[in-house]
């Protein structure tokens, strides 16, 4: 059993309480008012008026999650560059894509009051099936992502020595308390809470990483020595596979895996509901474009954080669970606790724990919005009032979070990781419908649906077929050979190609068959609209009511 570090634990708890209070206070922030938030625009999108600064913190806190902070250095520590450092090119090529796509999504959503990507797809293609497919994919892909944020908090608690009781309830009690607080302030304050907390969290994370990256390399003999140690550890031959456990510089055989992982993840990230929620909460069309140029600062921080995985190798950090088994995900929290005064380790660990709360809140809000708009309203209650929508969304956000909590407590941690792996593959399959729709109405709605289904089926089967060489378990990774070749690539990219090919071919066929196209509520001018431009609803009121031929 590990001793509990009292000072570090106190700092973490104090930070946590502070952030909790901030979360409740956020309800009154920026015109929230005292009587609560009663529309999705207010509760679920923070009033749709975050400027560049808030958006920077909000998206930074949203995209660079606690799980990222824990898992990326863990992957570097365990297997090296291919499974860890690809996060850097991933979060670099991400932003040109965001710059290109997200201003158009913002504009059309602003004009039509869309809250989710499924809202947009519904407006664009007039197909309920396609809308539902997009909404369900978003919800299913988000759930395990929330669960992984809990894994992030858990790793901090484990390193602090908390939760070593025999009783499972006592064991998980700190986690449950953290989540109840999170659920409560998300319920009252909506997106304003994570927006406000993100500022605190990001400042703390930057501080912790900056100090670590300046101080630690010198302490452990400089980068030369650190990379030497990493080379020695990763070059060791694994007994199970007969190959080295990892690599510091990827060999030619893993080039295609490396860049497809980076590209596929970058294409997928802004299809996730929580990323889109952050975009649509911004004030103007240019807010997100400006942020595409400013957010890469986080990627630099992520790169340094990844290198801390190698620093931990040189430092001889032992990421041990309370029962003594090795868990690579504990490596960064343990590195901080071993090498800094308790109070500073407390700040760093607190930053990681708070870093889990921001994305978990936004993800649960985003999933709740999808459910409310595209399942509750579209399927069951077409005439739901904005007030009803907000009410349903608040309740669903609670349900989503408790679902994630049960996921983590009741099931093996690897279940959440496998689901997250699948979620990444699945969410990329919504890309053709959403992104093509931003530019053209060429694709047929049924073809897009068939492409989505084909991509999901291929991706799921391919991911299932990857067997871990050591444990012989399925879902052993996200890399598989392109069918018919021996080129290993990210499964999501092949599934995406299958998706697009099916969508193109079927569109051509359906066009010949003259299948009904479905109505399109959007106009080309919508895609360039800015904050001062009138919204469609208002425009409609000013026009004559008789139909326009």
């Amino acid at each position: 059993m590990k001793p509990v570090d009292g000072v570090a634990l106190t700092v973490v708890v104090v930070l946590f309480v502070l952030v909790g209070l901030l979360g409740f206070y956020a309800a009154r922030w920026r015109g929230g008012g005292k009587d609560g938030l009663h529309t999705l625009d207010e509760w679920g999108l923070g009033g749709r008026k975050f400027g560049s600064w808030i958006t920077w913190f909000l998206l930074g806190g949203d995209l660079y999650t606690a799980y990222t902070f824990v898992a990326v250095p863990a992957a570097m520590w365990a297997t090296g560059a291919v499974s860890g450092f690809f996060a850097v090119p991933y979060t670099v090529v991400l932003y040109p894509i965001v710059f290109l796509l997200m201003s158009r999504l913002w504009s059309v959503s602003h004009r039509h009051g869309f809250v989710t990507t499924a809202d947009f797809v519904g407006g664009r293609y007039g197909s309920r099936t396609l809308t539902l497919a997009i909404a369900v994919t978003g919800i299913v892909a988000t759930m395990p992502y929330i669960a992984l944020q809990l894994v992030g908090i858990k790793s901090v608690l484990t390193v602090l020595g908390v939760g070593s009781g025999e009783n499972w309830l006592l064991n998980d009690l700190p986690l449950i308390i953290a989540f109840v607080v999170l659920a409560a302030y998300t319920y009252t304050s909506g997106l304003r809470a994570p927006a406000m907390i993100a500022v605190v969290k990001d400042v703390l994370i930057y501080l912790a990483v900056l100090v670590a990256i300046i101080y630690l390399p010198g302490k452990f003999g400089g980068w030369d020595h650190i990379f030497g140690a990493a080379q020695t550890k990763l070059g060791a031959v694994s007994a199970a596979t007969g190959k080295p456990v990892g690599s510091v510089i990827p060999g030619a055989a893993s080039f295609s895996a490396y860049w497809t992982l980076a590209l596929g993840s970058a294409l997928a990230l802004f299809m996730y509901p929580h990323s889109v929620t952050g975009v649509l909460a911004s004030k103007s069309r240019n807010t997100i474009r400006k942020n595409a140029a400013l957010l890469p600062l986080y990627s630099l921080m992520l790169g340094f954080l990844a290198l801390l995985g190698y620093v931990a190798i040189a430092a001889g950090t032992k990421p041990k669970e309370l029962n003594g088994t090795i868990n690579p995900q504990l490596v960064v929290p343990q590195l901080f606790l071993d090498n800094f005064p308790s109070w500073f380790a407390g700040i760093a660990l607190g930053a990681i724990a708070i870093g889990a709360l921001v994305p978990a809140a936004i993800m649960s809000i985003a999933a709740a919005n999808l459910f409310t708009r595209n399942i509750y309203r579209d399927v069951f209650r077409p005439n739901a009032s904005p007030r009803q929508e907000a009410k349903v969304s608040k309740l669903v956000s609670l349900a989503v979070k408790f679902g994630a909590l049960i996921f983590v407590i009741a099931m093996d941690q690897s279940a959440a990781i496998n689901m997250q792996l699948l979620g990444g593959i699945w969410i990329l399959q919504t890309f053709p419908a959403i992104v093509a729709g931003l530019y053209t109405r060429w694709f047929h709605r049924w073809a897009l649906f068939a492409g989505w289904a084909a991509g999901i089926i291929y991706g799921t089967v391919a991911a299932y077929s990857v067997v871990n060489p050591v444990t012989k378990a399925h879902f052993g990774g996200s890399i598989a050979a392109i069918p018919g070749t021996n080129v290993p690539v990210y499964i999501a990219i092949v599934a995406f190609a299958v998706n697009v090919i099916v969508a193109v071919l079927l569109t051509l066929i359906l066009r010949v068959l003259k299948a009904p196209e479905g109505s399109d509520l959007t106009r080309s001018s919508d895609y360039g609209a800015d904050e001062d431009d009138p919204k469609v609803r208002k425009v409609a009121r000013e026009l004559p009511t008789e139909p326009i031929a």
């Binding site: 040109p96 109505s519 360039g528 026009l543």
Partner: protein
């Protein structure tokens, strides 16, 4: 939700000039393609302060991408402003359709040309 109930398409921007869009497209393509060319950087030398080339080169692309996107932002927001300006106070010498010669917008549709 039949399409006959839709209001007419009221343009939000005037016609675009292709220049800024082409330049931005090229810059963004560079920003996406170069960080993905793994064979160009999968080696350990030259080192920088003990960091192998593979690591510092990829991290170098973070500020490069930020700068490229920054240039695109400047170009696009200026072009956006210009296109909105045309709509608010159209050049008296030009009709709304006069912009058709450079009627390539970022979505391939002349939004201004649809004004009545």
């Amino acid at each position: 939700m039949s399409s006959t109930q839709l209001p007419p398409d009221i343009p939000t921007r005037g016609p675009a000039k292709p220049g800024p869009y082409v330049i931005s497209g090229v810059l963004l393509a560079i920003a996406v393609i170069f960080p993905l060319l793994v064979p160009t950087y999968a080696r350990s030398t030259p080192q920088l302060g003990g960091l192998p080339f593979f690591y510092w080169y990829q991290m170098l692309w973070v500020p490069i991408d930020a700068a490229l996107i920054g240039v695109c932002y400047a170009l696009m927001s200026r072009e956006d402003r210009r296109r909105r300006q045309i709509l608010r106070c159209p050049d008296p010498g030009r009709t709304d359709d006069g912009g058709a010669e450079d009627g390539v917008t970022d979505d391939g549709v002349t939004e201004g040309g649809e004004a009545r």
